[in-house]
Amino acid sequence: MKSLLLNGCEAAAEAAIAAGCRFYAGYPITPQNRFPEYMSFRLPQSGGVFLQAESELAAINMVFGAAAAGARALTSSSSPGISLKQEGISYLAGCELPAVIINMNRAGPGLGDVTPSQSDYFQSTRGGGHGDYRTIVLAPWSVQEIYDFTYLAFDLADRYRNPVLILSDGMVAQLLEPVHPRNGMKKLPQKKWALTGCRGRKPNSIKSLFLTPGVLETHNWKLARKYERMEKREVRWESYLCEKMELLIVSFGICARIAREAMEQARREGLRVGLFRPITLWPFPYRQLKSCLEKVSKVLVVELNLGQMLDDVKIASGGHSRIFFYGRPGGGVPTPEEILKEIKKK
């Protein structure tokens, strides 16, 4: 197939359609307005349903309904809107419904501003909504990756009957890059649990309420085993030039892409610098990172926030004594030169 020139919103939308998504509900918010706008004409062309909801709360609950009815369903938003979706994400997880949620992270707290940020790392990886649940979180660093990860996210959501999050940012949302799309329609999995009318079978119900003593605990243990399977099978990461170096940069998403540039500049100057990039923020690549950390004397964590993934790096390191942090918490994006300066300071 020919490659297409798309921005991050359009690429994710095209990937969703290629993956068989036939339902999207969303509410406008910068920097992802192109998403609902694009879906409003593209999805009906593919026989799908586009809905502009009255709020993000409504949008995620519409997605809940579409998922309950067996459709591959998607919603997208940016940070303040994602906060409103947390109720629905918790219910999706509790009810074991598959859905994909894309967050084009902008800077907070509160209304913050509309510039790229990674400040929703905790919210994405620690649940976000109420209750003891987990969601796979994929962090793309390019337009091609947001395409690939969105496509993958629908399979993961169905495989585990669980919501899957894509934590992207305002920069990937608006970057214009070539994308190699996937071919053809997928054969979608059968969903015997879906609510389609009980013709020829017993009625199905979808619920997260279990009042009989002990039943909720059994349900939650079942969820726990599912989360363990995800931890075993779905960890994704990349490492660049991690052998024999002195300093390891750990960074994710768009920030890692800038850090890679800084790493290359550093190496041209003879500094032994490597890069480790978690792709799934949950499940986090603790083991893989640990084995890299064991070989370096210094670690520099770079994020567009006040140091959130930093906690996971520390957990992975099991007490590495020289972990440094460089972050930009207010929507500012560092240049490779600025990161290089930080590298040299350490």
């Binding site: 009255e54 709360l57 409504a58 609950n61 309904g65 609510l195």
Partner: protein
Amino acid sequence: MKALFTRPRSLTSNVMIYCPGCGHGLVHRLVAEVIDELGLRERTIGVAPVGCAVLAYNYWNFDVTEAAHGRPPAVATGIKRVLPDRLVFTYQGDGDLAAIGTAEIIHAAARGEKISVIFVNNAVYGMTRGQMAPTTPLGLKTTTTPSGRDPDLHGYPIRVCELLTSLEGVCYLERVAVDSVPGILKARQAIRKTFTYQLENRGFSLVELLCSCPTNWKMTPSQAMKWIGQEMVKWFPPGVYKDVDSTNQG
């Protein structure tokens, strides 16, 4: 032997755990009877609320989903848009529909979503022990209005049918007092109409049923039934508020 009265196919044999004299059990049964009558059991998807009727999926013998508090209209929208030829309805209490879910109900109505809404107005929050609801009449004592609902402090009740009449997407709105045999029969007819209109793709419709909550009203079941007819109807006059088929709108 000829059976004169049986359990509708659309009801399970599970014992309902509602309080004696509660309106929910009655309305569940009416919904089930109408679905049987229309032969729709295998094409129906119900959306249960958060409220006393949260366990509705235990009682209805067709596909039912839970929804977060107040969100049934959004959930039903998702289902109906994906499966437009199914009968999709929400079943909601007054806290669910007229407080936390006000935005969802108004916008589903405004979009003319082809869903039916069975709205059980019992003037209080039943499940959480009888606090003030958006439909609590002035003066009524509840667990959060210990001296009675005072408009200066607590505002005024919301009349949902009246509120929705102006929306073009709505094809049918009726309020019925479920306080007597004629009231029950009328409620049944109204439920039949909302389902029929949905199947005819006419738009959004809602039936508001004034129902008893003897437990939180601190009344006997028969006192509660009387209170609906004597007091509740003053605040919530029964009638047809909108019917696209009729020129004679109440």
